[in-house]
């Protein structure tokens, strides 16, 4: 059987012949005994090949069925190591966030600024206005970051014996806190806590609790 005839038989059996060529081939087939014999042999061979094709496809369709019928939760299995990695990442990010927040919220300057006793605006009237103005000047120095100058001003004000001296004591304590003058800070804080009649006694107790907080200890 020549190559051309074999190709024609194969084209017929694989369905790649045009409609007209198919009809012509079938006409040849009915009038050519050799061609008919060769065609029968090729048809048997193709039955074997097509059985293989069907087997392959059947196996593939069964795989697709298994995939589509699998419960949704088993379709995507997340490995344990990935779960741990995600959990560790979340903890790391949360930990870092907490650290940055605590480092700011429990900084000595933040605590002192939030606790500084500030003179009210309506105090600038009548007698004592000059004293109030001196307190405001010292508080302004503190707010502007000139802590040493503020400390000196509050030292002077605290030494005076008047109604605003307790406030000067308290604000002086704040300057010691920012300056890191631990001995002076400890001594003054102790005296404020010990003096239960001092106007700023309760605040001193609260400040001590803040300084004993785990996050304050962690960031110092």
């Amino acid at each position: 059987m020549d190559e051309h005839t074999t190709e024609k038989i194969e084209a017929y059996l694989t369905g790649t012949l045009s409609h007209a060529d198919r009809a012509a081939f079938e006409k040849d087939l009915s009038g050519d005994a050799d061609l008919a014999r060769a065609f029968t042999e090729h048809t048997k061979a193709h039955a074997v090949i097509n059985h293989g094709v069907r087997q392959r496809w059947k196996a593939r369709l069964q795989e697709i069925d298994a995939e589509l019928d699998a419960p949704a939760h088993t379709r995507r299995v997340v490995p344990l190591w990935r779960k741990w990695a995600v959990a560790a990442s979340i903890l790391l990010v949360a930990g870092a966030g907490l650290w940055f927040w605590a480092d700011y919220a429990y900084a000595d300057r933040t605590i002192a600024t939030s606790m500084l006793a500030v003179t009210e605006a309506d105090a600038f009237r009548g007698e004592g206005a000059t004293l109030e103005q001196r307190h405001v000047a010292a508080e302004t120095l503190f707010m502007q970051g000139e802590i040493t100058a503020a400390r000196d001003a509050f030292l002077t004000l605290a030494a005076e014996d008047n109604a605003l001296s307790p406030r000067a004591d308290w604000n002086l304590l704040m300057t010691y806190l920012v300056l890191g003058d631990q001995p002076s800070f400890d001594a003054l804080l102790r005296s404020l806590i010990a003096d239960t009649r001092h106007v700023y006694h309760q605040r001193a107790v609260r400040l001590q609790k803040t300084l004993q907080h785990p996050l304050y200890r962690l960031t110092h």
Binding site: E41, K44, A45, R54, Q55, I64
Partner: protein, 194 residues
């Protein structure tokens, strides 16, 4: 796998007729798209009984492969593929029922089936024939089997060479020729019900 390129039935048919990788993709996407509808329709038709699901799934797969063959070799005329598939499945089902009376058909309100149940496509392959074909296939050897199956699926010689790691298109053609000749020798004198 991306199936977006197959929006309509003619897209699937064109993909299948192109052969090779296009056929493989189109066939898989077509199966995924209509499988559930066909299964539900056939289960309703037979009246669902536990234990029959696997048998029905098997029939639906066989019918799908008959449909693909009809698209490739003629026998499909532009109808909705899902109805075509359901019709073939019901034809196979009736043939099965001739041998096995376990399934009770429910009256079908929609006449999907336009196919002749006695046509050769619906004749279930006999166990004897299956054994013979499988024995011939196994004697062929894995490499020859792979080459001939890819070729019958419409893969070009270039694609066959790439898929099987052959050195060239010419080598794929030569291998196919040798394998086909080997198979022709094997089937010579063997009676196969065609």
């Amino acid at each position: 796998m991306g199936c977006d390129q197959y929006a309509t039935d003619p897209d699937f048919v064109n993909g299948i007729l192109q052969g090779g990788n296009s056929r493989e993709r189109a066939v898989e996407c077509l199966y995924r798209k209509y499988r559930r509808r066909v299964l539900v329709s056939v289960q309703t038709y037979v009246g669902y009984k536990s234990g029959q699901h696997t048998e029905i799934q098997d029939l639906v797969q066989d019918a799908f492969l008959v449909m693909v063959e009809k698209i490739c070799f003629g026998g499909y005329n532009d109808g909705a593929l899902v109805h075509f598939w359901i019709g073939i499945t019901k034809g196979l089902l009736r043939n099965k029922m001739k041998r096995d009376a376990r399934m009770d058909l429910v009256e079908d309100p929609i006449a999907f089936d336009q196919h002749d149940a006695a046509s050769p496509e619906f004749l279930m392959i006999s166990d004897q024939r299956r054994q013979l074909l499988e024995s011939l296939l196994s004697r062929l050897g894995e490499r020859c089997k792979d080459v001939l199956i890819l070729w019958a699926n419409g893969y070009s010689m270039r694609e066959i060479a790439d898929k099987l790691g052959l050195s060239s298109e010419a080598m794929a053609r030569k291998t196919k020729y040798k394998c086909k000749s080997q198979l022709l020798e094997m089937v010579k004198g063997v009676e196969i019900d065609i």
